[in-house]
Symmetry: C2
């Protein structure tokens, strides 16, 4: 469904056959030959044909994986119930708004004080265009989307030891690097130094291309002139009326760009997972969780902490505690179980599964991540600096400042993401701090990039994912070795239990991974049920 | 106001002084030295201090230039009246929706048949983030904005004579070009062929950078592997559950990219005027014109075609015809006149101005441009091809196919821009066709890129700007030579008349040029009025 229209469906069958007969390397060569641009694991709404004969399924967790399973299994004729730890649906699909309260591990409770209409998404916050399953559920469930700006050319790169600590515009670093690299290559080409690698025929065309792509002048040089200014921006913008001629600025020297290491950030704009067009739900990421819950909310028992999972030849029995009455554990049973509990939690529960699955569950550490939302009196990043959405990057511990991608150009208060730490020592350091201290440090560091912080800051909220009771971490962190040893074992059905979630996917930390994993798990479960 | 917060306003004064004393070259060096990133001609709401002593101004044209002048001059205390050719405000700021009728030169009348809620903007359709004046008026007048996607990595490049005519994904051409160029440069660097140009110290860092930026593997090669796939996209996307490992696709050879000339389109994504974050008004570009008209609509006389402009020492007299009663011309007078009539029209009117201004008015030809909107039964570009917004480029006469940047991921009908010709022979060819024929050809050509056109097309509408009675062309087309000879003369006040509009700016065809030109014109006019 997502492929080129010129490709009839039968090509897929052909490819599957090639894959089965000759292996994946042969398959991808065949795919290329057949003109396949991209192959998603999502083939449109899942089809679970055949009679489940009254079978029941207990789903653990009402995140996107759990609610996908609930939605599709009920539709296929199963008796479904869902146990959810939190008092809300969505799991990591979560949005914090003014008035929201939450307590982290260690006991600290925060109340978000944002003005009405402002929010942050502490978990997932963007949806790539190629996450076809998420997009299809958004469509089917009526979740409105708007663009998420990943690359804003006018946002900033900041290296504390370079350029006197002054932030640089992304457009300048990006253009100046590309321009000077093009000049180097053009010169080498002209001097015949690439004659072994580039045919005589291609040489002239390569020069033309580098000139166009690198904003070079007629001498194949990248310089301070109106040619480069049309790409990097002007020192004085073209205007209207008299005295309106534009003036170019001075490029940043290649050597300074290299030394600053700012080039590291450029790949954040080129990676397939961050390419345009990205999306966010209008109003907050939890619009997706809420939309699922409108469909399957009647199946979910909230505030239910799973304590033990047992299975035998006849079914699955789960012991759980109600948050309001934890002293009196409850039990429920079903024929089958789809368990979406994060491995960080699941590895600590008594669980009747085979040694291979148990080893897999224990093999995956969880990524540390911290997000901090800050409210300011005004959207100074737009008003003073013409930064509308997107992300600034820094080598300071806050790593990123992400500007809101909604409510552009409005007066009044604004909330930005004042820190987004993902992996690394800084994430652990910030996790170790008390919530108020995290916010204070984000404001302190951020002021090096935006001096307005001092005068404009109002309040903040922080989520350190290793202190979040329902995940104890942000997402499964697979190494190649762990994947080779354990991944298939993690995904295989073990008796009457199958696991699902982003941890059971090749898309860790992405909602698409959670949904695709769930669809694959229930498809295999259903096949087993129908066959028995 | 739009500059780095670290720059106190006094720098501007200093720069103006340097500019005045030592010229613009010295000024731009000083600007760079002082850390100025960008200097807009827009300094925030215009200040017209001083008493106009009851002076009256007649404004010709209720486009953005004219309405800006009306808004600000009335606020400054002038008696203002506006004559407008059309029966609506906005001029080229125009949106076509279902039910709209318009007649072009030659007499052909089209009625737009789009479904309610769907539209095209035949004139301006995007607002760069550095068009500070447009953005500020949007803010002051309450016009909501949403992102305009210029670069969609998953949109298409199409060269009829390359790749068997099969469209290529932008992300693949862009990544494969950048990767192979990086590989060439990395190899040359390793072989010591750049030793004159790159210091020993920078060499190692340059290699690291090229590896990161070019998606090179550990051997500094750009190949079919998961390194390149993370940037160009996968042959098989990473998925969830079993059999979910990703597979890379085969890069397009550099030589084939060069031959296809698809690289020409890459600069459309890098140019400052097209960089992220761009905007469009929610609901159509004419939301801006309508917002202005809410403020100054009471000053505008619609359906008024200017026939003659006279001036003497005492004032300006304009003869005009009412569209409903053209046989009985009317007259109106004022102390001063701001004339925003396009030069293509103005050059044909009897006009009392000096030889220099007259020569300037006659010196500027108008760009030819054609836009064609097409309605389809469904948003197949999203549903079949995962193209959400952005633009596909082709060497066919339609040049561009631009997908709607609103209503993403919805079911139901959609309208795309099926052709956007700007300059060149194709624009004239399409202008010469009858409206229905233009639409038919856009559908025929477009089907080479999107075969779904055949089954899904419903109706279309086309605007050929050289046939639009109120502009007779799209925008002023300045050469460097014409600008040198005539631009200042065009902008200078001639007696009691001053010109404004995009044609009197260094931002031809942009709304920002119209507004900045108008602000500059009324500022100078006001200075003159206050001094007399």
């Amino acid at each position: 469904m997502q492929n080129c229209p010129a490709s009839p469906p039968s090509r897929r069958d052909l490819l599957a056959l090639i894959g089965a007969v000759a292996g994946s390397a042969a398959m991808f060569h065949a795919m290329t030959a057949l003109g396949f641009a991209s192959g998603s694991g999502y083939k449109g709404p899942v089809r679970l044909d055949g009679d489940p004969k009254g079978a029941s399924v207990l789903i653990l967790g009402a995140g996107l994986a759990g609610m996908t399973a609930a939605l599709e299994l009920r539709r296929a004729g199963y008796k479904v119930q869902v146990l959810e730890f939190n008092g809300r649906p969505g799991g990591r699909n979560w949005t914090l708004r003014g008035g929201d309260r939450f307590t982290e591990l260690g006991g600290a409770t925060q109340t978000c004080e944002f003005e009405q209409g402002l929010y942050i998404n502490p978990g997932p916050w963007r949806i790539p265009y190629h996450h076809h399953a998420v997009l299809d559920y958004c469509k089917r469930l009526g979740v409105a989307l708007e663009p998420f700006i990943q690359l804003n050319h006018n946002a900033l790169l900041h290296a504390s030891q370079s350029f006197g600590g002054r932030p640089q515009r992304i457009r300048e670093i990006k253009t100046d690097f590309q321009g000077q690299v093009s000049e180097l290559l053009a010169k080498a080409t002209q001097q015949g130094r690439l004659d072994e690698a580039v045919s005589k025929q291609d040489k002239e065309m390569l020069l033309q291309t580098l000139k166009s792509w690198g904003a070079l002048d007629r001498d194949y040089a990248y310089r301070a002139n109106l040619v480069s200014a049309e790409f990097r921006g002007f020192a004085k913008d073209p205007g209207g009326g008299l005295d309106a001629a534009p003036l170019p600025g001075e490029p940043v020297a290649l050597s300074d760009i290299l030394k600053s290491r700012m080039w590291r950030y450029l790949q954040n704009f080129a990676l397939h997972e961050f390419q345009t067009t990205m999306f966010q739900p209008v109003g907050g990421m939890d619009m997706i969780g809420r939309a699922f819950a409108r469909e399957v909310g009647d199946l979910i028992r909230y505030d239910s902490r799973v304590m033990r999972i047992k299975q035998d030849d006849h079914g699955v029995t789960v012991t759980y505690a109600d948050a309001k009455n934890p002293a009196d554990p409850l039990q429920t049973t079903a024929d089958w179980c789809v368990c979406t509990i994060p491995l960080s939690i699941l590895s600590q529960l008594p669980l009747d599964v085979g040694a291979e699955l148990k080893a897999a569950i224990d093999a995956v550490p969880y990524v540390s991540s911290v997000k901090i939302g800050l409210q300011f009196k005004r959207r100074f990043w737009e008003e003073d600096e013409a930064i509308y959405g997107g992300i600034s990057y820094t080598d300071l511990p806050i790593r990123q400042i992400a500007y809101p991608n909604t409510g552009f150009n409005r007066s009044g208060r604004g909330v930005l993401l004042g820190a987004y730490l993902f992996e690394g020592a800084n994430a652990y350091e910030f996790t170790a701090l008390a919530p108020a201290e995290r916010v204070a440090r984000a404001v302190e560091f951020g002021a090096a990039i935006h001096p307005q912080y001092g005068a404009e800051f109002e309040n903040g909220v922080s989520v350190a994912w290793h202190r979040v009771p329902f995940t104890l971490g942000c997402a499964g962190s697979w190494t190649d070795k762990a994947r080779q040893e354990h991944y298939d074992n993690l995904c295989r059905i073990d008796g009457r239990i199958v696991l699902a979630g982003e941890h059971a996917s090749y898309l860790p930390a992405w909602q698409e991974g959670a949904i695709l994993s769930s669809l694959d798990a229930i498809t295999r479960l259903h096949e087993r049920v129908v066959k028995t």
